[in-house]
Subunit: 195 residues, 2 copies
Amino acid sequence: MARKQGSHSDITGPKVREAALRLIARHGYAAVSMRQLAAEVGVQAGALYNYTPDKQALLFDMMRDHLVDVIESFDRADPKTDAQSRLRAFVSFHIRYHLPRADAVFVAYMELRNLSPENFAAIEKLRRAYEDRLEAILRQGEAEGAFAMKDARITTRAIIGMLTGFFTWYRQEGRLPLEEVEAIYWDLVCKAVAR
Amino acid sequence: MARKQGSHSDITGPKVREAALRLIARHGYAAVSMRQLAAEVGVQAGALYNYTPDKQALLFDMMRDHLVDVIESFDRADPKTDAQSRLRAFVSFHIRYHLPRADAVFVAYMELRNLSPENFAAIEKLRRAYEDRLEAILRQGEAEGAFAMKDARITTRAIIGMLTGFFTWYRQEGRLPLEEVEAIYWDLVCKAVAR
DNA sequence: GTCTATAATTCGATAGAC
DNA sequence: GTCTATCGAATTATAGAC
């Protein structure tokens, strides 16, 4: 006999996040209503407001938590040795970390327009912090004489764009195993910044 | 004395497209109401339905027209000679064509989720047709011995991703003139596919 | 072709019972 | 913590006057 009411804070809380991420990734923040989200979670619309003060905070919290986790995870994965090793670790980390989190990546990338100005500024700061990790590696490589490029900042954006585009199509083409895709991207990045 | 009513089909038609592109690029399709759009154009909401059967068709028509124009324009710009020259022309065309059309690029890229299934299929076909142009150039370069890469299809997506990421940040950083940005991207692409 | 007015829904968010 | 019920406002799209 299923209860119609009761306390499920520990269960419902994560379910709200997961459902919101899935629905917003698929349909977009503005297109997903609180009623749709509630139905996906299996509660009534009013109950959602036990877990978020409003719809905007729900979006912001998901994006912030994702980006904070990306940065902390990379800092742990970074070998902090020579630039070549660090760049390889970055490419591998970026692909492998983001792949199983496609919904979060998609939301963090596509929903910037729907953040309030203050929330947008906070998210942009985090995004920039992640990009700065890559830029620092490229500049170290230039200093070591391992890399050569015309402009480290633009090369940073180019590499991130190249790697992030990956997640917009990988789900469709199951043609190649992850190891090969990773090798292909490493080959491109490695040659692009080579002396 | 401004008229409050009257026929302005030739004026209002283009204004609807321009305003829709601008508003949707900034706020997203789902977040822009027909009333907002009408206010931007300078008419009442009901008048918009003289120019589109519904909101969905307005989005689809803009995306389709943009992509058809991209493909036709590239086919005219393509030197159709050696792969190296063609690749350089592609990079230059892609940057220069898309730069002054940032709103259309943004909409065509970000609003795929808001297309009906049939409209999505049609737009994906066009997108694929453009990507196939680049893939053909890369395969020609392999055949000529000018390029070497592990996988032409994935390299195609990687290059497009890299070039398209360009438009998400160029407006912010006016630091460098277009010629230099183009040279930086050409350097990266050229080295990435070099033998 | 544009207007005003409105039908029919749907939205985010809240109040109060349990 | 979840429910039901609801407020007030916004939505797409249409009807009919001019």
